[in-house]
């Protein structure tokens, strides 16, 4: 596992949609370095031929009848939007010129 620098954190912050100020990037770099350094102990564990766990307790396919149901909270759900216009969510422009 590699060392973390502020460039990595800046890149990850961008992927995670976090517009962080430079001083926070520096703080998080130090902390991530320490945390991922601790996590690196997993490297020493032999996991050859070990299946990864995807769920703690195994469940089989959960099926139900495909029945149309009316969702009664539609209006309330749309109304939670910070910027609503009619039945739409209003957002800033998506494409740049």
């Amino acid at each position: 596992m590699t060392k973390i620098n502020s460039e990595d954190v800046r890149k990850v912050a961008k992927l995670a949609r976090l517009d962080l100020p430079e001083d926070l990037i520096e703080t998080y770099t130090i902390q991530l370095e320490e945390i991922l350094g601790y996590v690196a102990q997993l490297e020493k564990v032999d996991t050859t031929n070990v299946e990864p766990t995807t769920r703690a307790v195994e469940v089989t396919n959960v099926l139900r009848e495909d029945v149309v149901k009316f969702t009664e909270v539609r209006e309330e759900l749309i109304d939670l939007a910070p910027n609503r216009e009619g039945d739409f969510f209003r957002v800033p422009k998506i494409l740049s010129e």
């Binding site: 517009d19 945390i35 990864p52 766990t53 910070p82």
Partner: protein
């Protein structure tokens, strides 16, 4: 007062439900200024539900099992029409249009919502200090933390500000605060209880469970909230047994395993270790057989968890984009810019840190080294437990390596805080049920908790052993003088 005792008083007409609610609210106003267990109270709702229960009682209608029991609910469980904040600026004004399955089941059983309790922001933390709305104090010593992330629920139960509470447990968030506050906290088997309406943190680990003052109450609450739910496909389609059925039965012959690796840990305080070993002897005198067992990968739990939980969190928290609900930063530049500012402004630092760790671990080139590796070690941890449960019925450990720590003692050092979850995390990784209950006090008079871990769906036996120990040890009766818990 235990739930059964209350039920008797209510049915005999000795006390009315409204009187109890009024008493609770009065007490909250007196005590909670110094604790800050509650984020908000539901006074009007509580009184009107209580009145209905009293009317039903006087007209001779059969009362449901939790009739009139005042409940506190961790503020990451959606309550219809009642603000649900996750202690985050992101959801400061979020009013869910639907009810979580667990709370719906409580209200259908007659329970009364008193208020919503404080937590670490989005349940990320072990001290309730990362709440955007201020920390909660430990009722035993106000300068100490109540544990976390369900610290508000634990503190509320411990100081008599409700009769029982719900919390959620992803890596110990019910058991560790229960231990710090001297109450009972139960994390059920993964899938025993529906997660519908629980704000998602790490979906493969999250589980809802009760906080109570005693084991019998924990069984009663679990009874009501358990069982399959068509709205949560990870909720197991398994029959729900009667959790109180065997409480009074002797535990003679039950095999209890002591995990070598967790008693050898240097981070565990001597007082905590001694207290839990003393409890082990108590189990022995009740007829249980003590067996030394080994879980070689137990101590890799934290490293495994701090890959898996942040990875799942980074995906789950991607939904907070400033578009559909929650906080939105003012920015007309572009959609991406608005979302990035929204998340930078409304998430606190612990949440941001975990999103960064998770995004990093899942990003191209690192996925196999971190996420896949952690999932493989998770398999090994589960296999260790499976092997143990061939030899024993239950496992016994301390719940937390120490008693409640001072507020602020882990500031700016997130890793040291993470390490305090050493003993609780493995049960989440393996999906096992586990309970914390008081087993003694340290020299400062702070409660110490023991943890019992059961096999998958083994809640009945877990509760039986916990109950038998509780009755025999009578720990709370030896509660030190002069603690600040205003009972």
């Amino acid at each position: 007062m235990a739930i059964a005792e209350w039920r008797q008083k209510l049915q005999s007409g000795e006390v009315s439900s409204l009187e109890l609610v009024n008493d609770q609210l009065k007490r909250i106003k007196l005590v909670d200024k110094s604790l800050h267990a509650y984020l908000q109270l539901e006074e009007d709702n509580a009184r009107s539900v209580a009145k209905k229960i009293d009317e039903a009682r006087s007209s001779g209608i059969d009362l449901p099992p939790l009739a009139g029991v005042p409940f506190a609910i961790k503020d990451n469980l959606c309550t219809k029409g009642v603000r649900t904040t996750c202690s985050s600026k992101m959801l400061e004004n979020f009013i869910p249009p639907y009810e979580s399955t667990v709370t719906k089941r409580l209200w259908n059983s007659g329970a009364v919502l008193i208020g919503k309790t404080n937590l670490d922001e989005f349940a990320m933390g072990s001290s309730t200090e990362t709440s955007a709305f201020g920390a909660t104090s430990n009722p035993w010593d106000l300068s100490r933390v109540p544990g976390g992330s369900s610290g508000g629920s634990a503190a509320a139960v411990a100081s008599g500000l409700c009769m029982a509470a719900l919390g959620s447990d992803t890596g110990g968030s019910i058991r560790q605060p229960a231990s710090f506050c001297g109450v009972v906290g139960l994390k059920p088997t993964y899938g025993r209880v529906s997660r519908w309406g629980l704000v998602a943190f790490a979906s493969s680990l999250d589980q809802v469970g009760p906080f109570t003052t005693n084991v019998r109450d924990a069984a009663e609450v679990l009874q009501v909230i358990s069982g399959p739910d068509p709205l949560d496909s990870t909720c197991l389609d398994e029959p729900v047994p009667n959790f109180s059925e065997f409480l009074n039965d002797s535990i003679k012959g039950i095999r209890i395993g002591l995990i070598k690796e967790c008693f050898n840990q240097e981070g565990i305080s001597t007082e905590v270790k001694d207290s839990v070993l003393k409890a082990a002897n108590q189990f022995k005198s009740l007829g249980a057989e003590l067996v030394d067992v080994s879980c070689p990968r137990f101590n890799d739990g934290i490293a495994t968890y701090y890959v898996i939980a942040p990875s799942e969190a980074s995906a789950n928290l991607a939904r907070y984009d400033g578009v559909k609900y929650g906080f939105r930063a003012e920015d007309d530049e572009s959609l991406t810019q608005m979302t990035s500012l929204t998340r930078a402004n409304a998430f606190g630092s612990e949440v941001q840190r975990r999103i960064l760790i998770g995004t990093y671990a899942l990003s191209a080139g690192y996925f196999d080294a971190y996420y896949k590796k952690a999932q493989q070690v998770r398999t090994l941890i589960s296999q260790d437990f499976l092997k143990c449960f061939k030899k024993v019925d239950l496992l016994l450990t301390p719940t937390s390596p120490t008693t409640a720590f001072k507020a602020g003692s882990h500031d700016n050092d997130p890793l040291s805080m993470y390490l305090s979850d050493l003993l609780t995390i493995p049960a989440n990784l393996a999906g096992l049920p586990a309970i914390s209950l008081p087993c003694g006090f340290d020299n400062l008079g702070l409660p110490i908790g023991l943890q019992l871990i059961g096999n998958v769906l083994g809640e009945q036996r877990l509760l039986q052993a916990a109950y038998q120990y509780e009755q025999a040890a009578n720990v709370m009766k030896n509660c030190p003088e002069g603690n600040s818990i205003p009972r």
